[in-house]
Symmetry: C2
Subunit: 202 residues, 2 copies
Amino acid sequence: MRTAIDLVDSGGLEELSMRRLASELGTGTATLYRHLPSREVILVEALDLILGEIAPVPPTRAGDWRGEIEAGASALRKTLLRHPALTPLFASSRALNGPHALAGRERILSTLQRAGLDERQTVDAYLVLIHYVVGVTFTEAGDLARTGDPAPASVRQFYAGLDPGTLPATVALAARLADRDAEREFAFGLRLLLDGLERMLR
Amino acid sequence: MRTAIDLVDSGGLEELSMRRLASELGTGTATLYRHLPSREVILVEALDLILGEIAPVPPTRAGDWRGEIEAGASALRKTLLRHPALTPLFASSRALNGPHALAGRERILSTLQRAGLDERQTVDAYLVLIHYVVGVTFTEAGDLARTGDPAPASVRQFYAGLDPGTLPATVALAARLADRDAEREFAFGLRLLLDGLERMLR
DNA sequence: ACCTGAACACCGTTCAAGT
DNA sequence: ACCTGAACACCGTTCAAGT
């Protein structure tokens, strides 16, 4: 599994072929099938393993649910970005029933319940938070996986070069659309969501 | 392109092979390369084409930015869910510079600006909205693409069967985690975000 | 009983050869 | 000048044959 994750991290999903993994391990492809049933299962297990890299946020300072959620969301994002090619697997909930995924989900659910949300609110809040983190991280990971270069200059040029007659707002905002600060943007959206949850509690 | 989209819709991404597409069109694979440079470009163009299915939300009733954003977000989600296998492509921003993607982005940006947000707020709001819709839709599309069956009963059983000692919140919420209402959840998160934006405007 | 070379049925892409 | 059959270099997976 460690070799498989290294392959995916270094060259993307398509770098992990059964032949390459086998030769990296000094064996043949047929041997791999004695330990794991398919390439897909390797990927699913790899995702759960990297979720295990997230250090559980300890439920310290009694009642700081907001701080715990912020820390957890940020840790999830950073962990996924360390393995951008594996991030898309986060979409299939079938891939999210491994031990580490379950432990992480449990921590979020219990934090939200301790905050005072009722059952329905807890599940709704859990889902909205996960979906937001997934959306941000997928997009970031997609750009990162491409070749590692976001190249803000060329993006700005692309936007600025569009027809201002048909796309006036896009052209006017070209500089801001190109020079992004992923960290700040992530915090902005998370704050919006957490403010909303906090208001629900009052 | 229409044949390519039909193939992807009916059997997932892996159903679209150059050989299958060629034979569906009554020709050989080499011929395809006289019209399109690669399989990847076919997929990128397919995504932009389906974005064109979204009817532009007319900026009617002066100043109802919130209604326009809600309608646009809902239309984007529904359109992507009609082509679940293509949804993951929405992650790569390279795939999002086709004419329909640009037109859609322009509409959102101009709606937010007309609402009264400044430049930075407009871009931040645009990104947070897109990321949320992407996150929700990816997850839904991933489940949908699997075999079409979410099978709430088996999901509930899975959650309920976990160890209540280590995963108490998950087990307690098993029924709610299994019996989901995607439409309501989507509206819940969108409301949280729009409430936040509305408060920024005051 | 355990392992694996070689095969099967596929891929995306290219190019020499055909018309 | 335009088209494409056949090849190249790969895949995931299986199984008969080896030890």
